[in-house]
């Protein structure tokens, strides 16, 4: 189909115009507003002790949740692709739940299990462990939302590479660990990287679920995204914009590494 030049340019203009109005202009404006009064105020806003603590807490969430989900993801992907066992279909379906559940519902769910009066609440209280309105609960929330990415990226690649090489290796006397380390892992590494990047982006940006379980104790249980909201409500727009700018830069870095990992993944397969 070769529509006339005029209609092609019209379609292009409409598509790009839509993207500009919805995406590029708002994000661009926040970048402009961040540095409207120069670099100094923005820098100051994101280097206050409270802001630094918020960013550190966000990094902590990522550092715990993403590795946990990576290990879980690889084990689960191998189990789902390579083995037949009772409950396999259920496990496979349950993996996608975090994509479909509202962040607020996730937060509520965690409170009902780990909070005061929750299913495990009294046991946890007896052992002096506070999960809800504290860091552990926020980590659980981050784990929940970023859980499916690694599994879903690794599974199709595992299916594609088949088991021939793995079987050859074990016939030649390789242990199961050696087979995994030398054969399986190199084959899935770009898909794994892609999944890790997606999970990291999701973990960095989580707001709703963390907001519900955090109790929003300023300077204590406040991640970077909660800091943005809190600054906005305190009428500190510079602070809100500057922290948003940092988060947006992280998002753009994520996009770039996604493109890179995706290209490598395609070359590898």
């Amino acid at each position: 189909m070769t529509p006339s030049r005029v209609s092609r340019i019209t379609l292009r203009t409409v598509a790009l115009g839509y993207l500009a109005v919805l995406l590029a202009a708002p994000v661009g404006l926040v970048f402009y507003r961040t540095f409207e009064h120069g670099f100094g105020p923005a820098w100051q806003a994101v280097t206050t002790p409270e802001a630094l603590h918020a960013f550190w807490l966000t990094i902590l969430m990522v550092l715990v949740a993403v590795p946990a989900n990576t290990v879980f993801g690889v084990i689960t992907a191998i189990a789902l692709v390579r083995h037949r066992f009772p409950g396999r279909a259920l496990l496979n379906a349950a993996i996608d739940l975090p994509f479909a559940v509202s962040p607020v519902v996730i937060g509520l769910a965690l409170i009902l299990v780990y909070g005061e009066g929750g299913w495990f609440g009294s046991w946890l209280a007896d052992h002096g462990i506070q999960v809800i309105f504290a860091t552990p609960g926020m980590i659980l929330a981050t784990m929940f939302v970023s859980l499916p990415f690694v599994v879903r990226e690794v599974m199709p690649v595992l299916r594609e590479i088949g088991t021939e090489q793995e079987q050859a290796a074990s016939t030649l006397g390789a242990s199961s660990f050696q087979t995994f380390w030398r054969i399986t892992l190199p084959a899935i590494r770009w898909a794994l990287t892609y999944g890790v990047v997606l999970a990291t982006a999701r973990a960095l940006g989580e707001f709703g679920a963390v907001s519900v379980v955090s109790g929003k104790l300023q300077g204590q249980t406040e991640t970077a995204t909660l800091f943005v909201e809190q600054r906005f409500h305190q009428f500190d727009l510079t602070g809100a914009y500057a922290a948003s700018f940092v988060l947006a830069m992280l998002a753009i870095a994520t996009l770039l590494s996604m493109n890179l990992a995706n290209r490598r993944k395609r070359v590898a397969s």
């Binding site: 189909m1 529509p3 379609l11 292009r12 409409v14 598509a15 839509y18 993207l19 919805l22 708002p26 994000v27 404006l29 926040v30 507003r33 084990i75 689960t76 191998i78 066992f85 496990l91 379906a93 993996i95 739940l97 994509f99 479909a100 559940v101 509202s102 962040p103 607020v104 996730i106 509520l108 769910a109 965690l110 409170i111 299990v113 929750g118 299913w119 659980l140 859980l147 088991t163 793995e166 074990s170 199961s176 995994f180 982006a201 940006g205 707001f207 709703g208 519900v212 995204t225 943005v228 909201e229 906005f232 809100a240 948003s244 998002a251 994520t254 996009l255 770039l256 996604m258 493109n259």
Partner: protein, 262 residues
């Protein structure tokens, strides 16, 4: 091959992990929703404020994904079939809503379309703002579903139709569109699932006005804050049920699309 015992241990650990983080908590929501029996659930889920929030959520999500179906297909078409400078940048930009934290998304929209708008468009705290935020966060779904199908699409049929005298519009409607339908619907369904539960992008720009701009997730949040956990759980159960239906529809769709390819 891993030894059977090692594999079984791995599966067991994975199962426990998934149960502790996802399954048991979601079961707790359902259990809490029915704490006071079916009647308790029903009266909480059908309170005027909750019904109004659910209605807004579902209707807004339908409108938004319908718009996405059109604009997403158009953008995918432009990205695949058109050629212009900076196309690869635009292509990467599509994923920005996936990567950008939702609270930042809401803040950026509020900056341009809120009270301090430099272009004089102020839709903050209206239903239009709700739609705008949902359009922003669901933008990539249809584009990314349609794009690969459009790349793979054999152009011989289109050329044959054109050489037999079909105009571009007829070719699109009769040849291209039928091939894209499964992908468009899959993207729409994913966007709908996302839209139903959206929270972060809405909290700043929607104003959370009950009976006006309050969607279900924001309503649930308010119920939790004011310690009405059973009511929050009841509405959560409704949202979970909707998500479950959408997930089932998506898997049915992907089976249908698989048959379409073969």
């Amino acid at each position: 091959m891993p030894r059977p015992t090692g594999a079984a241990h791995g599966r067991g650990a994975a199962g426990i992990y998934l149960s502790l983080i996802v399954l048991i908590p979601l079961a707790a929501v359902v259990s809490k929703g029915f704490d006071n029996g079916w009647d308790g659930f029903w009266s909480a889920a059908t309170s005027p404020a909750s019904v109004s929030a659910l209605k807004l959520t579902v209707v807004a999500s339908f409108i938004v994904v319908a718009i996405n179906g059109v604009t997403g297909t158009l953008i995918a078409w432009v990205l695949v079939r058109d050629d212009f400078r900076g196309k690869s940048i635009v292509n990467s930009l599509i994923d920005l809503p996936f990567a950008l934290p939702t609270i930042v998304a809401g803040l950026t929209l509020l900056a341009l379309y809120g009270p301090r708008s430099p272009v004089g468009v102020d839709v903050a705290y209206t239903r239009i703002a709700v739609g705008l935020a949902l359009l922003f966060v669901t933008l990539p779904f249809v584009v990314r579903a349609v794009q690969p199908v459009l790349i793979e699409l054999d152009r011989d049929m289109e050329e044959a139709a054109a050489s037999l005298g079909a105009g571009p519009l007829t070719v699109f409607r009769r040849i291209v569109l039928p091939n894209l339908w499964p992908a468009i619907l899959a993207g729409v369904a994913l966007g709908f699932a996302r839209s139903i539960g959206e929270f972060g992008s809405l909290v700043l720009i929607s104003g959370n006005l009950p009976f006006k701009t309050e969607v279900s997730s924001v309503f649930i949040f308010g119920q939790i804050e004011s310690d009405r956990v059973a009511a929050a759980a009841a509405v959560s159960v409704v949202l979970l049920a909707i998500s479950l239906v959408v997930l089932l529809a998506i898997s049915a769709l992907s089976r249908w699309a698989g048959r379409h390819d073969a």
